[in-house]
């Protein structure tokens, strides 16, 4: 996957480049907002990672103008300002995700992959991972033809995991996307929710679908 990284801090950019490269991405770096915008316009990128504070043009303006210019490449904004207001502003400008600094590299890698894979997921009404099926209209979940009884929140948690099947999703991504919480719980709440869900979808079956990715998060995979 080709990633455009717009970041003015050279050390940070190099460190992110090596992580992204190690994760099998091809990375090009732009050092300011204007250069980033013209490179994005030239096209050919699968995901754009954009710092919020950039010389010459702010990240938010870059996204906004790119969207007006018809560029629909998924954009992830990185920001030292993890205010709710700034997050909403970034998303309203057309960004697809917003990650506050400091973040872990794993968090960034998971989100970049999720952005790429999630491009056209909203149109689906049926999700399937192995023998696990979800009907979004009837709000039912079956595994191996057997109906599973999920609470509404468990349903949304599973839906998010299924939409990102094969990808690692971090605890923070779950917290933001399933619960819309933008704070860090100091307890292992997410793990407990996952283990409850796991007991419902995996316990009676030989093959496990919901895997723990050590140090990163979880992955649903057949």
């Amino acid at each position: 996957m080709r990633v455009l990284l717009v970041e003015d801090d050279a050390d940070m950019a190099e460190s992110l480049r090596s992580s992204l490269t190690a994760d099998q991405h091809e990375v090009e770096i732009a050092g300011d907002g204007e250069l980033g915008q013209s490179m994005a316009l030239a096209g050919g990128y699968d995901v754009i990672v954009l710092d919020r504070m950039l010389p010459k043009k702010l990240g938010v303006s870059v996204v906004k103008e790119l969207r007006e210019q018809g560029v629909s490449t998924p954009v992830l904004i990185l920001s030292a300002l993890h205010d709710e207001d700034h997050r909403v502003e970034g998303l309203n400008a057309g960004a697809n995700d917003y990650l506050g600094k400091p973040f872990s590299t794993r968090e960034l890698l998971a989100r970049v992959r999720a952005l790429w894979h999630g491009r056209d997921r909203d149109v689906q009404t049926r999700l399937q991972v192995g023998d696990l099926e979800m009907d979004l209209l009837a709000r039912t979940v079956k595994r191996g033809g057997k109906k599973l009884d999920l609470q509404p929140r468990e349903f949304r948690l599973l839906e998010y995991l299924m939409r990102n099947a094969g990808q690692t999703v971090t605890r923070k991504m779950l917290l933001e996307n399933v619960w819309d919480y933008h704070f860090d719980p100091q307890t292992n709440v997410i793990d407990v929710h996952i283990s409850r869900l796991r007991s419902k979808i995996d316990r009676d079956f030989a093959q496990s679908l919901l895997h723990t990715v050590r140090g990163s998060g979880y992955r649903l995979e057949a």
Binding site: D83, Y181, P185, T187, V192
Partner: protein, 476 residues
Amino acid sequence: MRPSLALLRTTTFRLALAQAGIVLTFVVALLVYIYFATIGQLTADSDILADQEYAALERSYAEGGIRRLNQEVVERAAREGPLLYVLAESDGTVITGDFQQLPAVPGEGAEPAAAERIDFNFETTNADGAPQRGRARGQVGRLLGVGGPILLVARDLGDSSVISGRITRVLWTVAILGVFLSVASGLMASWLASRRVEALAHTARDVMAGDLKRRAPVRGEGDEFDELAEAMNAMLDRLERLMQVSRTAGDAIAHDLRSPLTRFRQKLESALDRPADSAADRDALQRALEEADSLLDMFAAVLRLARVESNPNWRLERVDASEALRELVEFYEPAAEDVGRTLRGHISDALVVRGEPGLFRQAVSNLIENALKYTLPGGHIEVHALRRPDGRVEISVLDDGPGISPPDRDRVLERFVRLESARSSPGAGLGLSLVAAVARLHNGGLHLRDGIGHGERRGLGAIFVLPAVQTAAVAR
């Protein structure tokens, strides 16, 4: 700034100058009014008097001819009084009267009895023979029309000019005195005021120079300067407290950062000292990473608290507290069960508060996590939310853990305060401070009391009160 000139620049002095201007204007207006009122009245009076005399003499002439008139004029002119008489022949030659000459000769064509009004100056000699100037006003006319004798009756205005002159002098004196008094009182008032202001400014300068203990003098007179001084002192008290808090916060954060940073360094160093061993190195790196994360968490908490406390521009909106609280209880309930605690919610319906949705959830989540952290296995946590009789929404997070002794309760709401008993557990001691800051931001409050425990395990109750949004839907 030289004090003498400074005094002239004060607001009080400018007000006094304006006042002096008003006094001056008023006196001039009064002068004009009195002048016209007195002189006008005197003129009208003398006109009536002169007219009556003229008419009486006219009748005498009609009855007794020139001889009788002549006699009457001589008699009347000899009388003491303000009236002056002149009888002259038709060519203006004076026959008898108070003057040797007519001040004016009426026209030849004048109708009989159609007398003219005249104003004139004259000169006479007084009893001592000294010349005396005067002013008179009266009637002059030809009796019998063309060819008739000329009669003049006038009133000496001398005394009335003296009166009006006197009044004018008095008023000018009053005006000058008024202006002088205004300026003097203005200088006095501005001197008094600037002395008080200078005292306040002096205090402010001392505080600026670093003497945070300085306070503005309060005279106890309850006037506006006392009010200002009291407000200033209250401000200085608060500033001093904040300075102290941030100073202790600085100390506390330095202290709290030292241990994790030391551990961080020590882990990296020992990994470097050991012979290369992939598994052990990775383990050391992993643990160093965890230390770094906890440091970053601490910074994030400090920054979040600073943002809540210093940013006045939070957008407050309607927050469905009932729903948000039920979701939070649902969110934490499995985690509580996982560690052997029970978490139950008792949430009233339709509680709507005015708040910042993210901060509201974060504050309640801090209270729940705090309860989870400090209760013992088998403990109970209850989240209650209800509308109080005063309309505010009260959210209580109660537990049956060890609780906090009453003397310590206020202290733990301050930044970075962690009681000795809590030193071993993770956290920067900012959880409750953040809730308190969020409560303040919402014009609400946070206070601590006993929880739902008994005896030694009294438990802790954190009561978070927020102003409610009154809506039709809620009122129904």
